[in-house]
Assembly symmetry: C2
Homo-oligomer: 184 residues x 2
């Protein structure tokens, strides 16, 4: 094993699934892709995402105290990629990328119709960590395509593979070989 | 799209890569698998992981203010699974699972020799969120198998596929179909 004390940019723990973060303030709507995110709690249902303060979505979340998290199949990785590469400050991504969007049931958050699942999140906590801000949201609504999930709310992995990101504009595409269920 | 206001347990955003968290206090060493984790910052390099206060590893991190994050190939998913299912309070997992372990260079944290990469993390911040504690660590050392990474520190995805977890004891096994590099 080689050892490094530190390094500026690294992707040792990649590939990581990408989520698309949506936010809305007034008539401004934006989406961005993010690979730094995790569930935080079951009860209450909390989910955290890290966003650079430079991003337009960061401003929208600060102003609206809400965001959506959208999960897209790996077949849609090109849309996911573009949402990480162009800024909503310069371009209306929804119009530019011809996205179909609807507004949440519980919150004024934009949701991508192409998602197989999406969470409506009410801002619960935020904190700056280094060069990013952690936004923790309470999930107050879940949208999902019921044909793609089982009764435990697990995705049907024969039909969905989330968009996985390897860093530095690289997307590995996988196919399912086997599903293994172990004893609990 | 179907809509749920809330639900107790859900896996809509799964599969998620699993990390193995290691900690040591005195002569007690333990490892546990965790699917709730994310990078938090590049500068300083910060990484967060969510751990239930019920877990033995939680006590060890509280006492030692340090932990390791270990990344294992999907071929080792059975070891990863066992580390999530048995408690280090009852069993010495290192002995029981016959794990090869070494101690970090910068910190007194245990690292799994079978990892393709591992981070040594010094506790930077902690906070309770619902039923879990967020531990944020500053990465002060990185161990990696140099034959498995390129010069940007991305894994060679033709050789490594991280262990992905679908929740509820299910592990989907993938194979690589294609690597797509898009314009930045």
């Amino acid at each position: 094993m080689k050892f490094l004390k530190s390094v500026k940019k690294f992707y040792f723990h990649y590939p990581f699934p990408v989520t698309v973060v949506g936010a809305k303030h007034g008539d401004k709507i934006n989406f961005m892709s993010a690979a730094w995110h995790a569930q935080f709690s079951f009860d209450p249902p909390l989910y955290g995402v890290l966003i650079s303060p430079k991003r337009f979505t960061h401003d929208l979340i600060k102003k609206s105290s809400a965001f959506s998290l959208n999960f897209l199949d790996s077949s849609k990785f090109r849309i996911v990629h573009l949402m990480g590469r162009i800024s909503g400050r310069d371009v209306d991504k929804v119009g530019e990328l011809n996205l179909k969007v609807f507004i949440g049931k519980e919150l004024e958050v934009p949701i991508l119709s192409e998602s197989y699942a999406a969470y409506e999140c009410e801002l619960f906590d935020e904190k700056k960590y280094g060069d990013h801000t952690l936004f923790v949201g309470k999930i107050v609504g879940i949208h999902y395509d019921e044909e793609l999930f089982n009764e435990k709310y697990q995705p049907d992995i024969t039909k969905i593979i989330p968009t996985l990101y390897l860093g530095s504009n690289v997307y590995p595409m996988f196919e399912l070989r086997e599903i293994v269920e172990l004893e609990g």
